[in-house]
Point group: C2
Chain length 371, copies 2
């Protein structure tokens, strides 16, 4: 398992076992760091301890902010920003998955560009931001190499173009303690980054290269004993899907999922994508020619039609042991109208990213088939 | 055919038809540019005229330096640097293939860091360099996205880690006028960037992803009518092989070719690689596990042994219409000792990049089989 460094956009990514040791070179001149994280995975994985040891060795003082939860809110981003200002921190070290990384991105902007998180969700742009270092703890987010951040304000879940991390560390060792369901959810998240990037209007050959490879790696590594090499491969698949996503943003599937987990914050993002994925693929497949290529890479089978694409994704979910439905999260037909209003309202901007007309009947059909 | 932008390391790459229009945004504040190029392809392709029009529109004065030839020398890099200093130019715009781009890289360093080209070949490092913009005219070099420059001093051909261009423009339209033999040579060059990067000691999953894709695209696009779409695909294949090469440098095949074209400057680089390629692959294949994957991608066939890998590369050359031999360039057995002295002398540093012992008998066997 090779360790390597990749500079993509503004991010220096260090990939491989013990890659976090490279954090040291960024600590020069730093006096105080905020470590932003969630409730447990940073500790359980050993990442927090490793980071603390490194920055202590560099003489950097620090404070841990461990209040970030899945589907993070604007309030928590504001709190983190306040703590940064209060402590006069020089940088943020985010240790976690997408929720932690995205929150830290927004807080790092607030800290130097002012305002509140909600302002940025509504269009404010921040040119200056605190240095941000990321220790990624899931093989799904892609946020360690992309510019995006997704936060929730009330029932609205909004994705914005925020900033790239200065440096990120993808270490498969930290993923060994990821709970099995999280491993499935985040793998599905990585797949939909690859799938939506390559089927969207902004696809290009580089996205094709990376997205197809991501799908092929998911086929080869899911489900398998989640040994270190599997984790390495899944983490790599997720990382390149992050680059795909950065170049060609997500569209329909993410839009619908944002509406759903905006309405029910207990629905994990990757789980929501998995639930609505099969029928979404059915519709996208009819219009986007790359859908065939990526579905064939995911399944290793020839895919001749939208129905076959849908079926093969269902088989993939079955293979990895996923069987949840919208109704498991309390959704019923009564909620469809609200989902529709959000998708065709606030989230309408996602439609600019596809080359076909997404219609209300398609959405209803997807929800109906996901109950 | 999509146009897209990719930021890799320090280079902003613009890919696609008419991508050179993006040069405009880099001309702000520039007063004088040196356009560095070769004798004819910049004019014939239309690239020179396009660049002149763009920079005239931006009010930038310019001078054309069109003296760069294949296998460029340190003397020409020094001349270009002198012209830059004499004119007080603010930037270089390189229009050409690897020879032009590499020369411009070194001259851009000399201009701000002093010294002569030969100093840099012998280890001098330059921290400061003039902005460099690249309009790439071949689908082989990779130099538009990598840090390397290769120059010749006497009979020594030396590759150095020089710098990345600030911005590069890969426009398939400019490749339509590339002579057929050049198209073959440069495609083979791209292949060996991919092949050596992925079979070398510094390979990693990202190199694998890009190198395998490069080989697959070469299989799909060579030989075909050299229409614009084919050129687009070949140019893309070459560009990603350039990133592969940047992350995992070339080794044996390039080392031997450097010795050969150092001795005979009339031997085009890609041609030299093609001549010695099959038998080099035979030896590398025995030790490097990725050789099988990339040869299978290039041929679309199952490759079970080193002999099959060698044979399949010969078939590939036959398919693209390449049939030259070392003897066509005046090489005979009498020259083997000198090649050996160079490869195992000045060029020995290439050996650090492979995971096996490259022995003198292997080199002699490669040369013997390439006569």
């Amino acid at each position: 398992m090779k360790s390597f460094r990749l500079k993509y956009e503004d991010t220096e990514l260090y990939f491989g076992c013990n890659s976090v040791k490279n954090l040291k070179k960024y600590m020069k001149g730093m006096e105080h760091a905020i470590i932003a994280t969630g409730s447990s995975s940073a500790r359980k994985s050993g990442a927090l301890e490793d980071v603390e040891n490194i920055i202590k060795e560099c003489g950097v003082k620090f404070e841990v902010f461990d209040k970030i939860r899945p589907n993070p809110t604007v309030e928590i981003a504001d709190k983190l920003a306040e703590m940064i200002l209060e402590k006069g921190s020089d940088c943020i070290i985010a240790i976690g998955g997408g929720s932690v990384i995205d929150t830290a991105k927004v807080s790092s902007i607030i800290a130097l560009s002012g305002g509140r998180a909600g302002d940025y969700l509504r269009g404010k742009r921040g040119k200056r931001y605190l240095p941000l270092f990321v220790v990624n703890l899931t093989h799904g987010t892609g946020s360690e190499v992309d510019r995006y951040a997704v936060l929730t304000e009330g029932r609205n879940k909004v994705g914005i173009s925020a900033r790239y991390p200065n440096a990120s560390f993808d270490d498969p060792r930290y993923l060994m303690s990821l709970p099995e369901r999280q491993a499935i959810y985040t793998s599905v998240d990585a797949f939909f980054h690859a799938y939506e990037a390559v089927t969207g209007k902004f696809t290009n050959p580089f996205i094709e290269t990376l997205s197809i490879e991501c799908a092929r790696l998911l086929r080869e590594n899911l489900p398998r004993n989640q040994d270190l090499e599997t984790k390495y491969n899944l983490l790599y698949a997720s990382m390149i899907a992050g680059i795909s996503l950065d170049m060609g943003p997500a569209h329909i599937v993410h839009a619908i999922e944002h509406a759903l987990s905006g309405m029910n914050h207990d629905l994990p993002h990757g789980c929501g994508l998995a639930i609505i994925g099969a029928r979404s693929i059915y519709w996208i497949h009819r219009y986007a020619k790359n859908s065939q290529r990526i579905m064939e890479a995911l399944t290793g089978k020839r895919i001749e039609s939208a129905s076959e694409a849908e079926k093969s994704f269902k088989e993939f979910l079955e293979k990895v042991g996923f069987d949840e439905r919208l109704s498991d999260y309390g959704f019923g037909r009564n909620d469809f109208k609200e989902v529709e209003n959000m998708v065709f309202g606030e989230l309408r901007y996602f439609f600019r990213r596809i080359g076909f007309n997404f219609e209300r009947e398609m959405l209803r059909d997807i929800l109906e088939n996901s109950l």
